[in-house]
Amino acid sequence: MLREVVYCGVCSFPPEYCEFSGKLKRCKIWLQENHAELFEKLYSGEDAEVEGVTGKLAESSIGEKREEKLEKDLLKMQAKEENREQRELAKKLSSKIIIKREARTKRKSVVAISGLEVFEIDMKKLAKTFASKFATGCSVSKNAEKKEEIVIQGDVMGEVENYLHSILAEKGLKDVKVEVVDGAAKKKKKPEGA
């Protein structure tokens, strides 16, 4: 018989190793929500609150002194990880995604999406999703700034915008700016400021 293994949805480890992931706070919340019985087993009833780093896990052979130091180290690691995550979040929130429509011919246009790289979105996968969703050609290519962007054939700017907002919302990043640039709109006869 093969064992059914649960892997932590936050740090990917078997949950008994979450204490070493630097993400224990979030790991515990995940485990409590998704595998309550395992949560009970690992962190034991009396210590079921999510704040504490150690529960039953601390029973070990290495002696109080080393255990204390280990706990200190683990707490330090966690603080470091949390700082890193916060920095990354700040970076994500301060960057923006640009959806740009460009005219190809009089009737046809393409939509290019750039600025996705900081969001841990698999662009190739997303391109495939768009291709099947809109039944059109879609690819990942490098733009003039040598950054990767997704290029979709066809006039699907509105749909793309909605879809991106839904992905961002899923990632808890609904405050990220999505800028829409319409390069295919009919041009005014006189450019502004001229």
Binding site: M1, L2, R3, V5, S12, F13, P14, E16, Y17, F20, S21, L57, E59, S60, S61, I62, R66, E67, L70, D73, L74, K125
Partner: protein
């Protein structure tokens, strides 16, 4: 072995024929006899086994998209995903709680971390030098790494200093996080 492994290191991917699949299964069983009972569950006849050839002559084998074992030389080595599914089939050593952090950072394992009260080594005659071993940890049920003995387990006990196990694969290394699609 997978310290710097990345998608770019994949050279080619190909589905293996059913004859190759059969010979891989019998090779796994001959290396790890206890796998015999579960081999058809691990690699069902209808499953798709894929060979992923990588930089440095490393070959990964996936079963229905999950990498279950790999090889660099003749020997097939299980990934942690495989070990977790069926832990009882491999030579195994145990580190104490104090060593876990270092193992997870990818370091080779020092002998004292294998001989202290929380650790565990097999009784004599134990395992030979160069054996591939699964690494468990004190108070944990699942393995956290796979390594290769740099000296026999009896030597680890008697010498008890320096490196005892060379790291091959551990939780959180690039192979652990490697995603095929």
């Amino acid at each position: 072995m997978f310290r710097k492994f990345a998608k770019e290191d994949v050279h080619s991917r190909s589905n293996v024929k059913s004859s190759v699949q059969r010979s891989l299964k019998s090779k796994l069983v001959s290396q790890y006899p206890k796998l015999e009972d579960v081999i058809d569950e691990l690699i069902p006849k209808k499953s798709q086994v894929e060979l992923i050839k990588c930089e440095d002559k490393i070959q990964l084998y996936s079963v229905d998209g999950e990498i279950l074992f790999f090889q660099k030389f003749a020997e097939l080595i299980p990934t942690l995903k495989l070990v977790h599914k069926f832990p009882d089939a491999y030579p195994t050593v145990q580190v104490d709680r104090g060593a876990i952090k270092f193992v997870l950072s990818g370091a080779n394992i020092m002998c004292p971390g294998l001989t202290s009260p929380g650790a565990s080594l097999p009784e004599a005659p134990g395992y030979e030098k160069d054996s591939v071993v699964v690494i468990n940890a004190e108070n944990k049920e699942s393995a956290l790494a796979i390594g290769k003995l740099m000296m026999s387990t009896e030597e680890i006990k008697s010498i008890n200093k320096g490196h005892g196990v060379e790291m091959i694969h551990h939780l959180s290394d690039p192979l652990w996080h490697f995603n095929l699609d």
